[in-house]
């Protein structure tokens, strides 16, 4: 059983000297400078007025006349809200499928012994190296055969249990010391009970990681939804945003604004879930 240990907030380990603080923030800022530039450029492009150049030898990061017009225009041009709702439906299905499917499979592969486990494990690993480049059309034919062409379920289906996520969950469950399981087995707990009371509380971090991966994968996917969906009413946000990039009409400011709009939910999901990585740290880790 996971025990909620004492909060370690006041232990010596958590106090930081001023010197260390300065060092940490310096390092944080260095990494920040390296990582955040594309995001800033997108943001600044999306705020630029119509009289400012977009492409230059050296990018300008500060719009001269910042304006929110581009965002308004995006919303006027395409039904952003309904596209976002479609994306959300797909993302929710994919997240739910992975949270359940990958978790239970990961647990079985990590903690239960059964015939064929090794073979299955090998196959899951093999999918990491399988060629995915030439199979998209055959995927489409499969989904169409299931009668799910032009539906959001059809878009969500192939990614609803990601093989990588199964492997990630397996790794997380493996980190739980075997003696905890053994104690529970002696107590007569079934596999399901052990999964619920020992497994799940200790893999919250990885569960939120695969949630993020699943969400972003579903949210950002472009080619697959484009192939599955025909009716523009069903379009997801990534496909719908392409309308800003027309044959004779592409305004990079609008495209950037659209990208920012689609980026926000990712930030929100990430910010909401990142606390969970630290559950173990905050509440005290597994009691050995």
């Amino acid at each position: 059983m996971a025990a909620h240990a004492k909060s370690a907030r006041h232990s010596g380990f958590n106090t930081i000297t001023t010197g260390e603080k300065v060092l940490r923030y310096t390092l944080l800022l260095v990494v920040l400078a390296i990582t955040v530039s594309p995001f800033l450029w997108q943001l600044s492009t999306s705020l630029k007025s119509l009289d400012e150049d977009i492409y230059a030898q050296t990018p300008t990061f500060l719009p001269e006349h910042p304006t929110l017009d581009n965002y308004v225009k995006v919303a006027e041009t395409i039904p952003v809200w309904s596209y976002a709702a479609n994306s959300l439906v797909v993302a929710v299905i994919v997240v739910a499928g992975n949270a359940v499917g990958a978790t239970i499979a990961g647990y079985a592969l990590a903690k239960l012994r059964f015939r064929g486990a090794k073979l299955l494990m090998g196959l899951f690993l093999a999918t990491l190296v399988l060629p995915g480049e030439v199979t998209i059309i055959s995927q489409y034919v499969t989904v169409r055969g299931l009668g799910l062409a032009d539906t959001l379920v059809g878009v969500a289906l192939p990614g609803a249990i990601g093989m990588l996520n199964v492997l990630l969950m397996r790794t997380a469950f493996q980190a739980i010391p075997p003696e905890m399981d053994e104690a529970a087995i002696i107590d007569g707990a079934t596999a399901w009970q052990r999964l619920r009371h020992i497994g799940l509380p200790n893999v919250r971090g990885m569960l939120s990681v695969i949630t993020i991966f699943a969400f972003i994968g579903a949210w950002d996917d472009f080619l697959w939804p484009l192939i599955v969906l025909t009716n523009p009413e069903n379009y997801t946000l990534t496909v719908g945003l392409q309308y800003l990039n027309g044959t004779f009409s592409a305004n990079p400011r609008l495209i950037a604004a659209g990208t920012m709009i689609s980026f926000l939910p990712i930030v929100i999901v990430f910010a909401a879930l990142q606390r969970f990585f630290f559950r173990g740290v905050e509440e005290g880790a597994i009691k050995g």
Binding site: Y55, I137, Y140, Q242, N245, F248
Partner: protein
């Protein structure tokens, strides 16, 4: 489907003269294609990246069609620009190709090979009378009888010069180069005056440039490539020498066809080639650059870009599909389209429209006039048989030749060998 074909054959023999299609009656009454022959029922139309800018225009065209033929219901799909080839491919593979689809000729060919498109010359005796030859020829394919699409809108390339850079570095934008050798000479002046900061040339040669030099790219039967000639090698050598002299930025080694337009937008190069609507899009991207641009006629044979509407062979509603394709590509509807954006109609009736030959003095309008004048000589510069993989390989070999890593002859021989191998497979 079989029955429908039989019907077509009967009709083709019956309709000796087709039917009078005056300019007032732009849509065909000809396709009394099958037994019923009435234009009604559901018909689907797929366009490529016209929403949202041309939504009103397209909707107007469709509404007028529905009004003209009561009982017809048009379902209009517009696909985003990116990934269109994959989308059409999956539709074709899944048997869900719309009745009428916007396909450029190089997309149409693979579908023709699979027997998925309708030969519209069977139903339309009048094609050649109404559409310009270049447009129709674009939808004829080596080894296949017939025409597999109604030509829709056309475009070509125009030279665009950055007058500010040219004036600043000792060139006269009113006298831009008109031949390759002049281009190199002016590029030299620009480079020297600007200390190598600015370039005039930034395009790697493509197959089309060989074609412009009179090189025969393919055998007549469309079964082998023939562009490894001494003339082709001579042109590559000229590029190699210019590159060595520093007249082209190093970017050309890894640039795509659109790369020079990008450098032009940045103000790094003073010359690009692009369609007639380029200044308009430039006004959106880089408003300060747009007024400084001067257009001129493309060097050598101007390229011809064709868009068309093809009819699916599996259509359940051939009469309506054919009528719709003719309606969208009718002179009036094309002219209205051309008034919205700088493209050119593929119908002969539009050739005398003063709109295309009159400039209002703005540089965007000049570009339109120049492009329209060029269309008469424009040709498709690259055979449709060239696949993505082939063009990529050709570009790579040309880049090697220009950088001087291999001789031009070696590059051309390797490219021809590879293309032949891919063609046979």
């Amino acid at each position: 489907m079989r029955r429908y074909w039989a019907g077509l054959a009967v009709v083709a023999t019956m309709v000796a003269g087709g039917c009078g299609l005056g300019a007032e009656e732009p849509e065909a009454a000809a396709p009394s294609a099958n037994a019923s022959g009435e234009v009604k029922g559901k018909v689907s139309l797929q366009t490529w990246a016209l929403k949202p800018k041309f939504t009103d225009y397209m909707q107007g065209v469709i509404d007028a069609f529905e009004k003209k033929h009561p009982g017809v219901e048009v379902e209009w799909l517009d696909q985003p620009g990116d990934g269109y080839s994959e989308k059409v491919l999956s539709q074709a593979a899944g048997g869900t190709l719309p009745d009428v689809t916007n396909l450029p000729p190089d997309f149409a060919l693979p579908l023709v090979k699979q027997g998925l498109l309708l030969d519209v010359s069977q139903t339309d005796q009048k094609l050649a009378d109404e559409y310009v030859a270049g447009g129709i020829d674009a939808y004829r394919f080596a080894g296949f009888q017939g025409v597999y699409g109604y030509p829709w809108y056309l475009n070509t390339d125009v030279n665009y010069w950055n007058s500010e850079l040219m004036t600043k570095y000792g060139l006269d934008p009113k006298k831009p180069p008109t031949t390759f050798d002049e281009l190199v000479a002016q590029a030299r002046i620009l480079k020297e005056k600007s200390g190598g900061k600015v370039y005039l040339m930034s395009r790697r040669p493509e197959l089309g440039d060989l074609f412009k030099e009179g090189v025969k790219l393919m055998a007549d039967d469309g079964k082998s490539f023939t562009f490894n000639t001494p003339e082709a090698a001579a042109l590559l050598d000229k590029y190699r020498d210019a590159f060595k002299e520093g007249l082209l930025p190093r970017d050309v080694l890894t640039d795509t066809y659109a790369g020079n337009a990008k450098l032009f937008n940045e103000g790094t190069v003073a010359w690009t080639t692009a369609g007639a609507n380029h200044i308009t899009s430039l006004a959106t991207d880089n408003p300060t650059l747009a007024p400084k641009v001067v257009p001129s006629t493309a060097m050598g044979t101007p390229p011809l870009y064709v868009q068309g509407l093809s009819v699916s062979k599996k259509t359940q509603n051939a009469p309506a599909a054919i009528a719709l394709a003719r309606w969208v590509t009718s002179p009036e509807n094309q002219a209205a389209f051309a008034h919205l954006v700088s493209i050119f109609p593929s119908t002969k009736a539009s050739a005398n429209d003063p709109f295309f030959s009159k400039s209002d003095g703005t540089n965007a309008s000049e570009a339109k006039v120049i492009a329209f004048a060029s269309l008469a000589q424009a040709k498709m510069l690259q055979p449709v048989e060239v696949t993505d993989a082939m063009s990529k390989f050709i570009r790579q070999q040309f880049a090697l030749a220009i950088s001087g890593e291999i001789t031009s002859k070696e590059a051309l021989d390797a490219a021809v060998a590879k293309c032949d191998e891919l063609l046979q497979n």
